[in-house]
């Protein structure tokens, strides 16, 4: 009975304010080059790339500056023509130090992009396409930064029947996928052809939330007739953009706990990632820039920008006229985006946006912050898209009963969407508890 109610959507979830009207009508604009670009060698899940350049070397825009180290790794490309100043450790968003290539762009350069060897759709084999995607440095641009080519290889004995192009974009404030769907429609269809050939999937579904009707219309109207594609409009609900949720919404299939989309015959690729595949592969280029939304109440010139990888948050905020009083900045949206503790960290492939607030604006958005004990109101239980019991998990986390959290209450399934913390009337930072608990569990298993 409940399955009937939840048509075209998943169960539970929340409805945070969408906050997309400030930027969803603004066309993507190009961002200027910063005086210095910092390109971390690890912008993806997996092994860091191996640098191919040395300090003092000249690079052209689009040139491969680091090659993948094994299958679970991708290449890096120079975001600008200029000179490599140094290769050094530089702070990342998590506070860790990451080896990074510092590039100083030539101010007078035409910044023409260096084309590589084209990967022709007609002649390439599936494996060649997968390799080309890895060489192009393509990772999930939705935020997870998982190497895309790894997804495309179905595990032994599994077949992929459905390709899902994820244009849900459920995070408040972010409008990059929305703009990409409107402005890069042809690239998306081209990317879909590559993905279909690489995976052998027979059906494509583009998932769009109901707050982007223009994007759905554009995709439907301009879809080539030979593509086995349907556009599905899902009701707006957070966190529909999560892989597990979007597959549940569209196909009514649940990825098994601890499993992969391939376990239910599906593969899910972000719409901006698809557009980049369609744009870059024919030219033989790699990712040296990406589209991000710079927004939030602390930003004066909000917008969607095509920004060079390696631009620092400080430069981005300066260019967009961030207010002096900005004190809270996060990469991505307010639900899952990590706080920036250092404005000199670079924008990487996984950064989907910069959202900035001043103190007063943050206080308005969060309300007051007194933390009360859990009153068992069950709102978190009603919100959790994975049907976990955040209340119980929170109580166990305080007691440091990590094994019980993992074994009895499926902590490791939690993907930290933040729905539980968002609804909690006691303002318990549940997601933070769960992050720490997962860290402790990983530490314990590593020690054993």
């Amino acid at each position: 009975m409940l399955n009937l109610v939840a048509k075209d959507s998943f169960r539970h979830g929340i409805h945070p304010p969408e906050m997309k009207d400030d930027t969803n009508h603004l066309a993507i604009r190009r961002f200027p080059f910063a005086p210095q670009l910092i390109v971390p060698l690890s912008q993806h899940l997996g092994k860091p790339a191996v640098p191919l350049v040395r300090a003092g070397q000249e690079v052209t825009r689009g040139q491969t500056i680091a090659e993948p180290d094994g299958f679970m790794s991708v290449a890096m490309h120079a975001p600008a023509s200029g000179v490599v100043k140094k290769i050094e450790l530089s702070p990342g968003i998590a506070g860790n130090m990451v080896e990074s290539v510092f590039i100083e762009p030539y101010p007078a350069s035409s910044q023409e992009v260096d084309d590589g060897v084209s990967c022709e759709l007609e002649s390439a084999t599936p494996d060649e396409i997968i390799t080309a995607i890895q060489r192009a440095g393509i990772v999930g641009l939705g935020g997870a930064a998982f190497p895309t080519h790894v997804k495309l290889k179905a595990p032994q004995g599994k077949s992929l029947d459905t390709l899902i192009i994820n244009g849900v974009e459920c995070e408040p404030y972010l409008t990059t996928d929305h703009r990409v769907m409107l402005e890069q429609t042809a690239d998306i269809f081209s990317g879909i052809r590559y993905l279909l050939k690489a995976t052998g999937a027979r059906e494509v579904i583009v998932a769009v939330e109901a707050n982007k009707p223009d994007a759905a219309r554009k995709l439907r109207n301009s879809c080539p007739e030979d593509l086995p594609l349907s556009v599905r409009v899902c009701p707006v609900k957070y966190p529909q953009g999560a892989e597990k949720m979007v597959i549940r919404s569209l196909l009514d299939r649940e990825i098994p706990s601890g499993g992969l989309p391939a376990d239910v015959g599906a593969i899910c690729v972000n719409v901006a990632t698809t557009a980049e595949i369609g744009r870059l592969l024919p030219l033989g280029r790699g990712i040296q820039e990406r589209v991000i939304t710079i927004g939030g109440p602390g930003i004066e010139r909000k917008g969607n920008y095509r920004i060079p990888i390696g631009t620092t948050v400080r430069f981005a905020l300066q260019e967009c006229g961030a207010s002096d009083a900005v004190s809270r900045v996060f990469l991505g949206g307010p639900m899952m985006g990590p706080s920036v503790s250092n404005l000199d960290i670079p924008i990487t492939k996984g950064t989907s946006g910069i959202t900035a607030f001043t103190d007063a604006q943050m206080a308005e958005a969060t309300g007051h912050k007194t933390i009360y004990p859990c009153i068992h109101c069950a709102r978190c239980v009603e919100a959790c898209p994975l049907f976990l019991n955040p209340s119980q998990l929170g109580i166990l986390a305080k007691k440091e009963e990590y094994e019980r959290m993992r074994d009895e209450f499926h902590l490791m399934d939690c993907f930290e969407c933040g729905a539980c913390s968002y609804v909690c009337p006691s303002h318990i930072p549940l997601v933070q508890y769960f992050r720490l608990s997962k860290k402790m569990i990983r530490k314990m298993s590593a020690a054993q």
Binding site: P172, S339, H368, I375, H427
Partner: protein
């Protein structure tokens, strides 16, 4: 951003919240209770007003004092203890001596709530713990019922209410048995209209079924109460008593009487739904409600007392953590839903 940033604030995501808070929930419970209180004072006059005020004040003062003694910041600001006090007052006979009201209030907060660790930790509904204490300590006073709508109710106080502490209260006011007691001991069932609109005698806040349900609907509409609890309790009571009425209508009362009379409405809507002491999952709430409903019928029909809502709820409070343990919701991607 021309000047360098002085400082950055770091917080863990999510950075925004729904704006829900414990105070807002408690304030809404208070609003839902307001009509019930006003009616209580209208029906029982000055006596009910004094009982309610004493109950609420004692509870708030007790919590404040205990926090002070424990060297903690006071927790009366979250409104929860005020709600406890008000609910506690509503379960008492309106002419109960005030010193007894105060003693029960202190017990409710100190033993029912604070001893377990305060807000969020109480295993039992504190208001009912206080009432149960009084029921055990002063059984006579707790089964003495003041006549509703007495002519002089706003001018005179029943003599019992100002009784000297630890002295035998003197009852001078006109009394009336509750509908449940009359059913039990005289086999007379009150009619539906007088039960619905609260024309009978009883505890200060239990008599008017309609207003209690209105408060419940308000809270359910604002998503501050799990509707499954009151609904399952009432359905269970109605169903079981209907079955017994089919067996022998001369012995067993009709379902409507069982629903409308006594503390069932107040208990099902405002007491059993105490979030802290009730199960967290929806399936658990159904089980919990069915358990309470069954116990209420059993105690009322075969127990020694005319009323059993309080003990039914307290018993179910005690097992609610076990219910939660027993019925864990299926986690996404496990069991039959996976694949």
């Amino acid at each position: 951003m021309s000047r360098p940033q002085k400082y950055l604030e770091i917080g863990s995501s999510p950075h925004i919240s729904s704006g829900a808070s414990v105070e807002v929930i408690m304030r809404n419970v208070f609003i839902a209770l307001l009509p019930v209180c006003v009616f209580s004072i209208y029906a029982f006059g000055l006596a009910a007003a004094l009982v309610l005020a004493t109950a609420t004040l004692t509870c708030v003062v007790t919590e404040h004092a205990l926090c002070r003694m424990a060297n903690k910041a006071t927790t009366i600001g979250d409104w929860s203890v005020a709600i406890t006090g008000l609910l506690y007052g509503l379960t008492l006979p309106p002419d109960l001596p005030l010193w007894m009201v105060a003693v029960g209030g202190i017990f409710a907060v100190a033993v029912g709530k604070f001893m377990f660790g305060g807000l969020g930790c109480n295993a039992f509904n504190p208001a009912l713990v206080g009432r149960a204490f009084l029921q055990a300590a002063f059984p006579q006073a707790m089964t003495h019922w003041y006549l509703p709508f007495a002519d002089n109710r706003f001018a005179d106080l029943p003599g019992s209410i100002l009784a000297f502490p630890f002295a035998q209260p003197v009852y001078d006011a006109v009394t009336a048995a509750t509908p449940l007691a009359r059913m039990k001991f005289e086999a007379v069932q009150a009619g539906n209209p007088e039960l619905l609109w609260g024309l009978t005698s009883g505890s200060a806040g239990e008599t008017c079924f309609a207003l209690i349900c209105a408060g419940g609907i308000y809270l359910i509409a604002r998503n501050m109460m799990n509707w499954r609890i009151p609904v399952s309790i009432m359905l269970t009571v109605a169903l079981i008593s209907w079955v017994f009425m089919q067996v022998d209508p001369t012995v067993y009362p009709r379902p409507a009487f069982m629903l409308f009379a006594g503390g069932l409405a107040l208990g099902a809507v405002f007491m059993a739904t105490d979030m802290v002491a009730s199960p967290i999952t929806n399936a658990g709430c159904w089980i919990y409600g069915i358990l309470i409903g069954s116990l209420v019928v059993v105690i009322r029909l075969w127990g020694g007392m005319p009323e059993g809502v309080m003990y039914a709820i307290l018993l179910a409070n005690g097992v609610s953590p076990h219910i939660d343990n027993l019925v864990r919701p299926r986690v996404f991607g496990t069991g039959k839903g996976a694949g």
